[in-house]
Symmetry: C2
């Protein structure tokens, strides 16, 4: 009987075709599946479990920082979307429109939210009246729709899952502080959980969010040296509150417009994690976010005591807070090794009659293939240590990739040469003109990723026009 | 300055106008708010926190029973919805239809899911091939759209939040077992967390889910003696797998159609909880599901040591696993009492200088108003006990209401009299004919709620036609 469960599943070689390798991993590690509608994907149990772990960590942080979860409607009346001019211009071209409710044509068409600023503003217009009502620190977990032309698993869905935080404050300073604080929450989950080093910075006006005064971003470098915008945090000033007539009475009994922020991280980050750590055997997951951290594979299971010992081991690991499972199926150990390598499980433990005799088992690192003999008695502590070693190893490797492929240049032609030769991030000075940004794209095929918080002085001339420049930009090719 | 935070908010008297009382509670306890689109509501932080607690408990149970979370697309192509005839007939009239993606008219219109059986089947068609792939025990947390004419907070939204479980099995027996098991999960959360006694049973063919072979239900009685269908679990046989061409190869290498179930519980249950336990001072929450179980109110806070003692008390309660908060705002104690009564917080604790001198505080039960003096030293243990007492008290009171207003009758006219006089549930024998169900509705204004699992023999004649009857039905007026 043909059954893919009985075959080791092949994936395309990474160096041969990175795009196809990526798609193969998404499908064959059973993270997602295609559906009947272009650009819509099923998040299968393994993909959703990853997202649940990311959600869990973010949600704890949001709440620790005083945020509350809410649920806004999924639909936005066209007239509501149109209230803030830049915002509607940015989003209307990719909205999906509902025109019928049952058999009845709607008087006004409704779009499925591409993002929810307008809905939060509409609510705040109703409930914010006094300084006593501020700040409101809200978040929602939901999916949004953007009618993209080109779609790819995780990186660009027409429907994607995310959280969107929306906050409203009495003062500008407090709102800016919130915007920066939430970027740091994103940087933290990337660096400390997903093992993805980030470049923190501010977007140029050309690249900022539609309707924002300022957009903060974290940018990650993928294995193919392209950039992934991994989380953004927007400061709106009081533009939205003016557009939506949200006013409050301050402590001096004067009317004022409050200041707003929004910030989001999406399932896109899963694509980033795949492209940061994956290899030719499939997915590689950082232990802190892996749904299963350790897979125990009993060897020669028909022999007395093997299964029992494997069960004991799983219980001992679980008792130590390690997410461990065992595979007792009839598939061969070789098939199991390949399967759990494909699924990126950080450690597998092989345990057979000979190991048991010696009171040992063998841990195999997914990231390096290294085999480590571990005494069964010490397993919980040793395995916990090993998981941390793997976590750090993945981060260090990604950091080395980022550092090795971050260059400096003083002209656009140099940027072009670097991108043609090697790819990666290139730092240059920039005068601040949008025209130079456009010209850099024409010459070198790159867009500005951000103005990093950590500015360096690489001379004083714009790499494009040669005029005086005080800002350093990081350029790259983005997903 | 006019600010509703400084006023005790009035609600309509329950006996005067139950419907208005209900809406007042929903709005004034800040559970929901209206939006710009009819039938769409904001779940505000307090309402969402309630839903998060319900989700948390259900999710733990689903996972304990082996279910995995997934995410299916939000949109269904019209042709996919049409594959199962009964199902499309039931749902198409209330679908919201997307006809444009950006500026482009879609070739086929897409509805926002009213429920996701068709999407799960479409996925299973792709991934289920062998008995080794079965069972699949899936659940998803999402919102769905149904274009209802009449809408009310929680009870009937055009967009509502729920979980929908979908499972697929190799055998009929296993699928039926699953259907029954999941109804029991719903009964458990109702009875043991929401303090809502339930009647478990099977829907008549007339009332079952569109496309199901059999629908199990739990029915609760509200304070106004109307019925609320609170959770349903459906057995589909293999009708859907035939319609969607989902086949598997069994252990004998033969092709077979697998058997399916689905089951759901929604934010509607919050409406049920309100209408079961609420009173003229507002919401009353069962402790096990209340976001805040205890609100500490410091009295004469300007006096030295009061705030400190309140903080210690909150910490001591939190350390004992009790969800406790304190309100240190400048509002008067009287305002705070009314506010947290409106919000249904199960216990408030008053603590002032005199209490502190005596090493005591005063706990006040939201459900009964009873005041209990508690030694501060013993507070964590005593308050934990008290919360359990309140939990049980709410259940017992709701059970008494259900039992007191459940009647038996032998003719439709008797049912009509009982409903006119008292309202509630009426049990009668029923021959099984749909015509008699319709006739009962015409005569007594009631619909069949279910054929309870606990059948009783109340004679042997149908209450409508007088023919031989072996089934007992519970009738009522439903939300």
């Amino acid at each position: 009987m043909a059954n893919d469960k009985n075959q080791v599943r092949q994936i395309t070689n990474m160096e041969e075709d990175f795009t196809q390798w990526y798609t193969d991993v998404c499908i064959k590690a059973e993270l997602v599946d295609y559906t009947s509608v272009k650009g819509f994907f099923v998040l299968r149990p393994y993909g959703y479990a990853l997202w649940e772990n990311i959600m869990g960590q973010l949600d704890r942080e949001f709440k620790r920082l005083g945020h509350e979860n809410v649920a806004m409607p999924m639909l936005i009346p066209e007239s509501l979307l149109q209230k803030e001019a830049d915002h509607v211009e940015g989003f209307a071209p990719e909205c999906a429109w509902i025109t019928y409710g049952g058999s009845e044509k709607l008087e006004e068409r409704l779009c499925v939210r591409p993002t929810s600023e307008t809905l939060f503003c509409d609510h705040w217009h109703r409930v914010v009246h006094s300084w006593r009502d501020l700040p409101k620190l809200y978040n929602q977990w939901c999916s949004v729709l953007r009618w993209e032309k080109t779609t790819r698993p995780f990186l660009r869905h027409r429907e994607f899952y995310w959280q969107e935080g929306h906050t409203i404050h009495a003062s500008e300073a407090e709102a800016i502080e919130e915007t920066e604080r939430m970027l740091e929450v994103y940087a933290d989950i990337c660096e400390n959980y997903l093992a993805m080093p980030v470049v923190r910075g501010v977007k140029t006006d050309k690249e900022k969010f539609a309707g924002a005064e300022r957009t903060y971003t974290i940018e990650c470098m993928m294995h193919d040296r392209k950039a992934l915008q991994s989380g953004t945090s927007h400061y709106f000033g009081n533009g939205f509150s003016k557009a939506f007539d949200v006013e409050f009475t301050n402590k001096n009994n004067e009317k004022e417009y409050p200041y707003q922020t929004s910030w989001g991280m999406s399932t896109r980050i899963i694509g980033g994690m795949i492209m940061t750590h994956g290899d030719d055997r499939g997915l590689v997951l950082p232990p802190r976010i892996a749904p299963t951290q350790v897979m125990v594979i009993p060897i020669a299971m028909h022999k007395g005591g093997v299964r029992e010992k494997a069960e004991e081991l799983v219980s001992a690991l679980a008792a130590a807070g390690i997410r461990a499972k065992a595979d007792y199926s009839e598939n061969s150990p070789g098939w199991k090794y390949a399967e759990y390598e494909m699924k990126g499980i950080p450690l597998r433990i092989e345990i057979g009659p000979k190991d048991i005799e010696k009171g040992e088992c063998v841990a195999v690192r997914r990231d390096s293939g290294e085999k480590i003999t571990v005494s069964i008695a010490d397993a919980p502590a040793r395995i916990a240590e090993l998981l941390e070693t793997v976590q750090k190893g993945l981060y260090d490797k990604a950091l080395a990739n980022l550092e090795e492929h971050t260059y400096t240049a003083s002209t656009a032609l140099e940027v072009s040469d670097i991108m043609a030769d090697k790819g990666g991030f290139v730092k240059t000075m920039w005068c601040g003109d949008k025209e130079c940004e456009v010209e850099m794209k024409n010459i070198a095929g790159v867009t500005s990723r951000c103005l990093p918080f950590k500015q360096e002085k690489l001379g004083d001339k714009c790499a494009v026009c040669g005029k005086t420049a005080h800002k350093m930009v990081v350029w790259g090719v983005a997903y």
